[in-house]
Symmetry: C2
Amino acid sequence: MSVTGNPANVFWHECTVGKAERQKLINQQGCVVWITGLSGSGKSTLACSLDRELHSRGKLSYVLDGDNVRHGLNKNLGFSPEDRTENIRRVGEVATLFADAGLICIASLISPYRKDRDACRAMLTDANFIEVFMNMPLEVCEGRDPKGLYKLARAGKLKGFTGIDDPYEPPLNCEINIEQKDGVCPTPSEMAGQVVSYLDENGFLHA
Amino acid sequence: MSVTGNPANVFWHECTVGKAERQKLINQQGCVVWITGLSGSGKSTLACSLDRELHSRGKLSYVLDGDNVRHGLNKNLGFSPEDRTENIRRVGEVATLFADAGLICIASLISPYRKDRDACRAMLTDANFIEVFMNMPLEVCEGRDPKGLYKLARAGKLKGFTGIDDPYEPPLNCEINIEQKDGVCPTPSEMAGQVVSYLDENGFLHA
């Protein structure tokens, strides 16, 4: 037997304070709000607006932003297909820990592939994974181009960019769909309101 | 320019709800209590006891156990020196996120090397990293041997085991030292009390 990679030597320690007790303490239900969509679709905008709205209601939430996490936990990952999958997996695992801690964890990542998102969903019980699809047309996202990345991708200076030369697979059964109404994009406050209503109706805002 | 590994394309998004606001909401200060020591020194016991004591005082804490995290976030890591360092780094990064979220994060890992622990300390402001050294004699830990690992290590069936054929580097300036008094080990409640006193005296139990 070697100490290298032998899971038989890794034990599971059960602690006495459980998720239910933490949830009771802060009067809410831990869950993951997973925001997926193209670059420029408004993921970070919704994440911030939702975070603010939940805080104003006395709820403890925390934003895991795909870009921000790349400066810390995932700073040793690049943008190869394997690294992108690992990037999403780690965020999913951390989001699951936050949900277990009792928080409403808001994860905001392009997460273009269905299988990667579904793998994160499978880390939690189904009801605690709330997938929010930023269902915005590519031309709207590209028109915004807040980071100038579409321009680079169109010029061929950025390869494998989601929506341009790499696919985005829309969710098939997401819990929340955020889209334009009559060609008008919802405001940050409207988008946050849509998610908060879902959380409220599904019992997440009380223990 | 390629999308592969170019940090210039990874932006930082600042959200409007900050650590101070979250801390005010739950009336505590986010921090990391990092428990280090030999296998069998009582790390998990202290983590559980401390978690329970903090909960009874209405404080939101969360335990990151080195073994448990290996079943999720770190399940793709083995026990090579590089993987052990990466295991500790990831736990440090996640603990830092939890502290930023406002929680008292209790990390329990052997974390035998000073440089790995110091790297985690450097992720936070110094005051928010509270290193707890389980300063128990090897013979006490080996006598307990709750997982039967010392026996395997002594029989040569487990290589690179901390304290037997791999070094443990004790902290030089830890915040809290847990040790025997007159040859008697402190009880779980006494150990937790020692940490809670530190947290209380240093303002972590109020916003």
